[in-house]
Symmetry: C2
Subunit: 128 residues, 2 copies
């Protein structure tokens, strides 16, 4: 009963998280879960599909690590895992800041070369 995280491939991990988020229904479920735990039927309530289909979405979310769930009696209660949400957010923010920093530097460079029309501006590798 302790075969939790056997899978240690960060890339495949992100695959599953982004794939899980790439569906409007599943995002709706995530949204619902931000307000607190919910049963499978509760998650599927607003979704106009069979319960079996909802369950499959829950499986996807669970495989991605975004959602954890446990069964109590005859109902399965699902809850959000903030850590997984964090890791996806982190991947994006890392890349975003990289681009923005580069774009800032480019802006400065352009501003400088516009001010001084004729100084020693050797083309040093690509900047753009």
């Amino acid at each position: 009963m302790l075969n939790q995280v056997v899978d240690r491939d960060p890339a495949a991990d992100l695959d599953r998280v982004f794939q899980a988020l790439a569906d409007p229904g599943r995002r709706l479920m995530v949204e619902r879960l931000t307000t607190g735990p919910a049963s499978v039927s509760e998650l599927g309530g607003p979704l106009d599909m069979s319960l079996a289909a909802v369950l499959q979405h829950v499986h996807v979310l669970e495989a991605s690590g975004l959602v954890r769930s446990q069964k109590l009696g005859r109902t399965r209660t699902c809850s959000l895992n903030a850590l997984t949400l964090r890791s996806a957010e982190h991947w994006i923010s890392e890349r975003r800041t990289l681009v923005e920093r580069r774009l800032d530097r480019l802006g400065e460079y352009l501003a400088e070369t516009a001010d001084r029309p004729d100084t020693d501006n050797e083309p040093q590798g690509e900047i753009s």
Copy 2:
């Protein structure tokens, strides 16, 4: 030549962004583009697939709004769009902070009820 963003469905928009990021090859391309613009062949360099396949990935990235590109001569130069990266990051961070705040409140509640073992703690709706 000005039929840019005709599509105004924020949900479908996120669909495409997360879908685009849900592929390791495409994430690699994004990663490459954080260091500056690149041609299609450059993006496909480390990828072990035909150029036609790379092009299709570029199309997906472009349709998601993550990448913009323009053709100059015979080469197409692609660049990252930080704004789209931002919007995906924003969606996640909104939800993450929601969960975390709720979890914090829950922690406080539990701590309080643990301190005062027998006060008027009416069960008022679900907290968990």
